[in-house]
Symmetry: C2
Subunit: 302 residues, 2 copies
């Protein structure tokens, strides 16, 4: 792969080289718009990492897609919009087919830990009855914005207020769940999602902030999918400072059962960048349109 352009809205980066801004082995300069970046360049793939909103992401990438440039985006909602934003998904799919581009939303979560990986882990199963996923992230080991995003240091009242405003939550849990359900061919009649605080039992100092006992250390988000009252799928994501054994765990009840643990978990920031790059050649082999990680997961229980 060869880098031919770079775009950022941050004025502090515009006009500087990728070598300078990001330590990349590239002297390409950061430009403020996609049109400028593409001026006189032939590009095949746009790596897009800006927003969690599929609608906002589509507005940004549409000029590339209509020129036939394929996109791998880390936009969480774009990872599986067919169930949550079907109209938009159809619109993106149609535009991509028309120009011959592929569009994929991926990353580590959504995109891997709680959807693509568990699906691959069902491939040695003759049948699957139930899937339970648990991801525990030590927010204290991650960048400052993430520590604040999970509500670390807040009072319970302030946390609840932000939850009500939709400002504390992980975007993508529903997308992961629908990808799993469709991948396994499961019909469900109820999907519920709960966001609750994880409280600090003792003082936790991360270097970025300090959380007093009884205050919020982070967030626990649980999604349950049920069919006739029976829980078929449960996703539990906990992101908080001071988490003691970060991990990804996948449990499959079937023939045979499968119980897999990723010790230490999968590092969110580095892994998301890696997933985006590692999916490029895979999408270029697929037909044009809006793709999902389901198209790239060749192995799963059928």
């Amino acid at each position: 792969m060869k880098i031919v352009g770079a775009v950022d809205v941050d004025h502090a980066k515009i006009g500087r080289s990728l070598r300078d801004v990001a330590g990349a082995e590239s002297d390409v300069l950061v430009t403020p718009s996609l049109d400028e970046a593409l001026l006189g360049e032939e590009a095949h793939v746009l790596l897009h990492s800006t927003t969690s909103s599929a609608r906002a992401a589509w507005e940004q990438m549409a000029p590339a897609v209509t020129r036939g440039i394929s996109v791998v985006s880390t936009c969480e909602e774009l990872s599986y919009p067919w169930r949550t934003q079907a109209g938009l998904a159809g619109e993106i799919d149609e535009a991509a087919r028309k120009s011959g581009a592929r569009v994929l939303g991926t990353g580590v979560n959504p995109g891997y830990s709680m959807d693509a990986l568990p699906l691959v882990l069902t491939s040695p199963c003759q049948s699957v009855r139930r899937v339970e996923l648990e991801r525990v992230v030590d927010a204290g080991a991650r960048r400052g914005p993430l520590q604040r995003k999970v509500g670390a240091g807040l009072t319970v009242a302030a946390f609840d207020q932000l939850v009500q405003e939709g400002r504390v939550r992980h975007v993508g849990l529903a997308e992961s769940a629908w990808m799993l359900l469709d991948g396994l061919g499961w019909e469900v009649d109820e999907v519920e999602e709960i966001v609750e605080p994880v409280l600090a039992e003792a003082e936790i100092a991360t270097g970025m902030l300090t959380v007093e006992p009884g205050r919020v250390a982070g967030v626990r988000q649980t999604l349950r999918a049920l069919c006739r009252g029976e829980e078929l799928l449960r996703l539990r994501l906990a992101m908080y400072v001071g988490a003691e054994s970060p991990r990804d765990r996948v449990r499959v009840w079937g023939v045979p059962d499968v119980d897999v643990t990723v010790s230490g978990g999968i590092h969110g920031d580095r892994a998301t960048a890696a997933m985006a790059l590692n999916c490029v050649s895979g999408i270029l082999e697929r037909p044009a349109g809006l793709l999902t990680m389901l198209d790239l997961v060749g192995l799963r229980a059928r």
Copy 2:
């Protein structure tokens, strides 16, 4: 999928229904040859499970492949014959392309535990330096033939004799290693494989046989792949009666590191049957020819 024929060389099974022989929901009768099984039937896929030898497997399946019938086989050597039996691989590939058939060798090991799964587990990595795989199978929990195949109950001298004759060893470790090496794009200049006994420290009784202390409980097979003296890849497979914590472990050193454990391991017999079935739709989407699990693993470090 609909079963249209069944073949076995076992005279005790010929003429009986699959319902009777295997508890399957099918009244198809077992016939002694592929020609008889296919008489008057339109078949798309042959599920083949007979031998570890790619040459012998090819002789058995060739009549189907030349008719354009695709094959998923559990033949260990067929899982990745491009490096170990390149001439035969080319011959199968040519025949399959000519008739429009796909041929795939798969199973749990080779096919998944020590090749396809570790490759998928590198997909959140920006770079990979080294991979180490460990699979510990409790042979005592498996069928009698496997317990004897790993040498359980033998003296060390008798075990060494069988190793020299090539009669005690797991077929497929080299195939898994080459699939990993090619999948990661790694060049190596040395591949060594060692087969050694695991000795019983105390008496082990499995219900099928009893192993006295000091006798052989099973086999440990280690493959190491090196480049300029540096070990890039290590596969360790231990299959013995009395193994205390059966598991599959995948360790990847890279950015980021990955450390995954499948608690209890992946059940070989059931999982192999499942893998074969779960690969059917995947191969039918691919171009004709000799395929490998690399073709079905859409996700991996690139």
